[in-house]
C-alpha cells in the first residue's frame, strides 16, 4: 500500500453522518503528477471523500494514505503536502490580496526571509500582481478564485485538492482558473485532485476520472476509456447519466451541500 508512486491511496474508505452513509467503501489510487477528477451528482459523497483525505474528517487507520503517510496518524505532515480550495469563496474580503496570501504563508511556516518574495511570486503566477494591494471584496468571482489558488499554492504543495473550483464562474473565468492550474502543474509536477460538476472541464483537463454515486465509485478510467466503454461517439455527459440515473441533482441526499453550492453561486452573482 505504501507505494511511493501514488499521491493518494484510499482503501475501503467509509464515513457516515449519524446513520447516513456518505462514503461507502471507496478504493482509489491517484498517481503522482496526474489530474484526477471526482465526478458525481450532489450528495454523491465527493466532498465527504475530499474532507476525509484532507484530514477535515477523521478517517480510520489504513483508510487513506497521502504520499505514503496514513492521514489518521500523520495529520500535520499530510497537511504540509496539501493545498486545498474549498467549494465556497473563502478569501477574506476585509483583507487585501497580499494579506490573504501572507496569512497562509505564515500558517505554512514559510520562512520570514522568503515570505515577501514568495507571496509576490505566487500572486504574479495567478495574475493578481496588480490587484495585490486591493481588498479582496473588490475582486470579481474569477479573481477571488485565483486569489484562493494563490493561497493554496503558497506552500508549494505536492497535492492540490480542489472542491468545485469553477462553480458559478463564467466560461472565461473558468478557463482562467484552469490555465493557472495547468501552468503550475507543468512547472512543478504537482498532483491535482478535483471535484466538478462540469463534464466538459473533466473531459478537457482530467487524466483520469472516477464517477461517484451514493457514496460508491461506479466507474473509473480516462475520459476516453469511459466514453468508449459506453458506445462509440458517446459524450462524458451521457456516461455520467448512465451511471448516476437520469437526474443531475439527487434531491434530499445532502441538503447542506446543495445549499452551499447555491450560496457560492449567488455570491458570485
Amino acid at each position: 500500500m505504501s507505494d511511493e508512486k501514488y499521491a493518494v491511496v484510499c482503501r475501503g474508505l467509509r464515513h457516515a453522518f449519524g446513520g447516513a452513509v456518505a462514503v461507502d467503501g471507496i478504493d482509489l489510487d491517484v498517481a503522482e503528477g496526474e489530474i484526477f477528477g471526482l465526478l458525481g451528482p450532489n450528495g454523491a459523497g465527493k466532498t465527504t471523500a475530499i474532507r476525509l483525505i484532507t484530514t477535515l474528517l477523521p478517517a480510520g487507520p489504513g483508510m487513506v494514505e497521502v504520499f505514503g503517510r496514513d492521514v489518521s496518524s500523520h495529520r500535520m505532515a499530510v497537511r504540509r503536502t496539501i493545498g486545498y480550495l474549498p467549494q465556497q469563496l473563502s478569501a477574506d474580503g476585509a483583507l487585501t490580496g497580499r494579506e490573504n496570501v501572507e496569512l497562509f504563508a505564515r500558517l505554512f511556516d514559510v520562512p520570514r526571509a522568503e515570505r515577501k518574495e514568495r507571496v509576490r511570486e505566487v500572486l504574479a503566477a495567478v495574475g493578481l500582481a496588480d490587484a495585490a494591494e486591493r481588498r479582496a471584496q473588490t475582486y470579481s468571482g474569477g479573481m477571488i478564485r485565483r486569489l484562493e489558488l494563490a493561497q493554496a499554492l503558497i506552500s508549494a504543495p505536492k497535492l492540490l485538492i480542489l472542491d468545485e473550483p469553477t462553480i458559478g464562474l463564467d466560461p472565461v473565468a473558468r478557463d482562467g482558473v484552469w490555465e493557472r492550474i495547468q501552468e503550475v502543474r507543468r512547472a512543478t509536477g504537482m498532483t491535482v485532485l478535483v471535484t466538478t460538476h462540469y463534464m466538459d472541464e473533466a473531459d478537457q483537463y482530467c487524466n483520469r476520472i472516477a464517477l461517484m454515486h451514493r457514496g460508491r465509485i461506479k466507474a473509473l478510467g480516462t475520459p476516453g476509456e469511459l466514453k468508449a466503454a459506453l458506445e462509440p461517439g458517446a459524450t462524458l455527459e451521457e456516461v455520467f447519466r448512465t451511471y448516476t440515473g437520469d437526474q443531475l441533482d439527487e434531491p434530499g441526499d445532502n441538503f447542506r451541500d446543495a445549499r452551499r453550492t447555491r450560496r457560492t453561486a449567488s455570491r458570485l452573482g
Binding site: 505532515a77 486545498y84 467549494q87 473563502s90 505554512f108
Partner: protein, 273 residues
C-alpha cells in the same frame, strides 16, 4: 473528536502534543496580524463600539458620582467605575466573537484553516488572542476617555503591562466561551441569543459597577465564580491602585482561559463536519 493513535507510531513524523506547542506562537502571531490588518482597514467598528462605554462613563458614571449612592471609600466613583467599564466593553467584544467562527465555517474559511498544519488548539488560541488585540484597541479608547474625564490612572509602565496581560487573558476566556457556545449552538442566530442572554448577568453579577460587599448573598456567590469579577479586580488594582488580590486574579483568569481554549478546541470539530 477522537484521534486514532496507531499501535506503533512511526518515528519523527507522527503527531504529538509537542507539535501543537511548537506551532502555537507562530499561529497566534499569524491570527493577531490578520486581526490588526482588519482593524486598520475598517475602523468603523472601533468607533461604534466606543459609544456604549462612553455613555456608561459619561451618564451612569457622572450621575452616580453625584448621587454618591455607591460607597467606594476614598476612591471617586468614576475612578472606581472606569476599570469596570473597560472590562465590560472587552466582555462585549469577546462574547460575540464566536459569530466570526460560524461565519468562517459557512464561508469555507474554517475548513481551509484546518487543512493547514495548525492544530485545533493552536487555531483557537490564535483566535482568542486576536480577540484580545481587538479588545486592546478598545481599551486604549476607554482609557483615553477616562483620563479626559479626570480619572487618575497609574503611570507605572509595569502596571500597564499588567493591564495588557489581564485584558488579553480575560478576552481570551470570554471569546473561547463564545466559540464554545458556537460549537454547541452551530448557528449565528442562536449564538446571538445566548450571547445576549448571558452578557448582562455576567456584567451585573460582577463587581464592575459596585463592590461585592453591597450584593445580596446569592449574587455574591455568582460574583465569586464569575471570571469578570477577577478581571475587574485586577484592572482596578493595576489602574487606580485599589487593594486587590493580583496573584489570585491572574491565576483564575489563566485557568479560565486554558479551560476555555480546551473546551472550544474540543468542539471545533463539530463546526467543520
Amino acid at each position: 473528536m477522537t484521534h486514532a493513535v496507531p499501535a506503533v507510531p512511526p518515528a519523527g513524523s507522527a503527531d504529538s502534543s509537542w507539535t501543537t506547542w511548537r506551532l502555537l506562537p507562530a499561529r497566534v502571531v499569524a491570527m493577531c496580524v490578520v486581526e490588526l490588518q482588519k482593524i486598520r482597514h475598517d475602523r468603523t467598528e472601533l468607533y461604534t463600539r466606543a459609544i456604549q462605554p462612553a455613555l456608561w462613563l459619561l451618564i451612569f458614571g457622572e450621575t452616580f458620582s453625584r448621587l454618591r449612592a455607591i460607597p467606594t471609600g476614598k476612591v471617586p466613583y468614576l475612578d472606581y467605575l472606569a476599570p469596570g467599564i473597560l472590562a465590560q466593553s472587552t466582555l462585549f467584544i469577546a462574547i460575540f466573537y464566536g459569530i466570526q467562527i460560524i461565519w468562517d465555517r459557512d464561508a469555507g474559511v474554517l475548513a481551509k484553516l484546518l487543512v493547514t498544519p495548525t492544530p485545533r488548539a493552536a487555531l483557537i488560541t490564535g483566535k482568542a488572542f486576536a480577540a484580545g488585540m481587538r479588545a486592546l484597541t478598545q481599551a486604549v479608547a476607554i482609557l483615553v476617555l477616562s483620563a479626559i474625564l479626570g480619572v487618575t490612572l497609574t503611570l507605572n509602565p509595569l502596571r500597564w503591562l499588567g493591564v495588557i496581560v489581564i485584558v488579553m487573558l480575560g478576552t481570551a476566556f470570554f471569546s473561547c466561551l463564545s466559540m464554545t457556545i458556537a460549537g454547541l449552538a452551530m448557528s449565528r442566530d442562536r449564538l446571538m441569543g445566548i450571547g445576549q442572554a448571558i452578557t448582562m448577568p455576567l456584567f451585573f453579577g460582577s463587581n464592575a459597577l459596585y463592590p461585592i460587599g453591597l450584593m445580596p448573598g446569592w449574587l455574591r456567590v455568582i460574583s465569586h465564580v464569575n471570571p469578570l469579577s477577577y478581571e475587574v479586580d485586577a484592572l482596578r488594582h493595576l489602574l487606580i491602585g485599589t487593594p486587590g488580590n493580583l496573584p489570585l486574579d491572574f491565576a483564575v483568569l489563566l485557568v479560565a482561559a486554558a479551560a476555555g481554549i480546551t473546551a472550544a478546541s474540543a468542539l471545533l470539530g463539530r463546526l467543520v463536519r
